[in-house]
């Protein structure tokens, strides 16, 4: 049964969707940056501790600048479950994997098995 929306309700719903999308993206970015910063700081602290120990053993050694090679920097990653899997692009470029390296969504997880049912159908799947 079709229900008509009044424009205010529709606008409100659209507004909520946009707000939530913006919030999720902002939280994701903030989380990524925060995690990256934290990890970088931890790595620096570990390195500094090791360097300090070396200085203690050999005071003639010149302290090297604390700089971690890029390939050793742990990449800040937001845990997968926190990343929206299908974001409607909002106009900004997002990192994207090469299509051929990634399977079609749903092809790597087991397919759900349809079941027989005595219930009348609520909708139809067919050609269109």
């Amino acid at each position: 049964m079709a229900q008509r929306l009044n424009p205010a309700a529709r606008d409100s719903a659209v507004g909520r969707v946009r707000m939530i999308t913006t919030g999720v993206v902002a939280l994701g970015l903030a989380g990524t940056m925060g995690l990256g910063f934290t990890i970088a700081e931890q790595v620096k602290a570990d390195k500094a501790a090791k360097a300090q120990a070396q200085v203690t053993e050999d005071t003639t050694e010149v302290a090297q600048e604390e700089q971690l090679p890029q390939d050793q920097v742990p990449q800040a990653q937001v845990p997968q479950e926190q990343v929206p899997q299908e974001q409607v692009p909002q106009g900004q470029a997002t990192p994207r994997q090469t299509p051929r390296k990634q399977a079609t969504p749903g092809t790597t997880t087991p397919a759900p098995k349809p079941k027989p049912t005595p219930k009348p159908p609520v909708t139809s799947s067919g050609g269109s």
Binding site: V88, T117, S125, G126
Partner: protein, 299 residues
């Protein structure tokens, strides 16, 4: 108790059902909005779409188009080109050059097709939100965009409302959120607008899609044509199956497989079984073949 609303969109029907009736207005709004955005990005039949710009100029920048093309290229890669988004030129030559409601169902002219050379889809490129195609290639996202949109919309609506959701875009069905008791009951048949025939089954997650050679069909000269093309010939796939229905973890995976099944013909059951995709294939003569634990029909 479920509630639903159905409306015409993108040359077919859109149907959304929710397990919490009070969320239906929001669900309908989200679906209409998303379909509108999808149409503006991916329609082959409107001049102002990003896809039309891509096919006219060889390049277009649009986030939703880029995502839809990415999904189409994954489908092509997963099927080794059986589901090919670069066959738009062939579709146009065959006569499907406008929204299907306006395609003349019969015409005296005959069509001549030269087989595609290579797999042109491999030369489609995506960089950020920009898609580029080689000269002479027309992209057609008809095989995957609708199914992908059903997946996205269902997840969006479920996340927004907390309700169980079923989104059906022209027979491509995606479900998300908590399903009703005993699942969503769905009729699988040749025509999604039909209320009879086929089989009624229940699903509670993932996606379900049916590809058919009977609904979008037309005649040119003495040939009956349809919209599922064989990428080896550029012509409609041989009509071994009247329709094929597949269940998968997502609607786009189901649609990719059901389209591939029509192209594969008699090799389809083995191909589907190897991928453990439950499927129901109906031959042109009406014989039913089921694959990978698809439920038996109740007599």
């Amino acid at each position: 108790m479920t509630a639903g609303t159905k409306f015409a969109a993108i040359g077919t029907t859109a149907h959304v059902l929710v397990t919490r009736p009070e969320t239906l207005p929001a669900a309908g709004t989200i679906l209409r909005w998303f379909i509108g955005e999808l149409d503006l990005a991916c329609s082959r039949f409107r001049d102002d779409s990003a896809l039309s710009e891509l096919n006219r100029t060889g390049s277009a920048t649009h986030p939703l188009l880029a995502k839809a093309v990415e999904v189409a290229l994954r489908a092509a890669a997963d099927t080794d080109g059986l589901v090919d988004p670069a066959l738009g030129t062939y579709m146009v030559t065959l006569g499907y050059d406008r929204t299907f409601a306006e395609v003349p169902r019969e015409a005296a002219v005959s069509v001549t097709i030269d087989p595609p050379v290579g797999q042109a889809w491999r030369d489609i490129r995506i960089a950020g939100d920009t898609v580029t195609v080689p000269q002479g290639i027309t992209v057609d996202l008809g095989a995957t965009a609708k199914a992908w949109a059903a997946d996205v919309a269902a997840r969006r609506i479920a996340a927004e409302t907390g309700a169980g959701v079923l989104v059906n875009l022209g027979g491509d069905i995606a479900v998300a959120g908590p399903a009703p008791d005993d699942g969503w009951s769905v009729r699988v048949t040749a025509d999604h607008a039909s209320d009879e025939g086929g089989q009624v089954i229940a699903i509670d997650s993932g996606g379900l899609a049916t590809s058919s050679v009977t609904v979008r069909s037309w005649r040119r000269g003495d040939k009956r044509l349809h919209h599922v093309l064989n990428p080896m010939t550029g012509l409609p796939a041989a009509g071994i199956w009247r329709y094929a229905t597949v269940s998968a973890a997502t609607c786009v995976a189901a649609n990719t497989a059901s389209t591939a099944a029509l192209v594969l013909g008699d090799r389809a059951p083995d191909w589907l079984a190897a991928r453990r995709l439950p499927a129901r294939l109906v031959a042109t003569g009406g014989a039913v073949t089921t694959v990978a634990e698809w439920p038996e029909e109740e007599s």
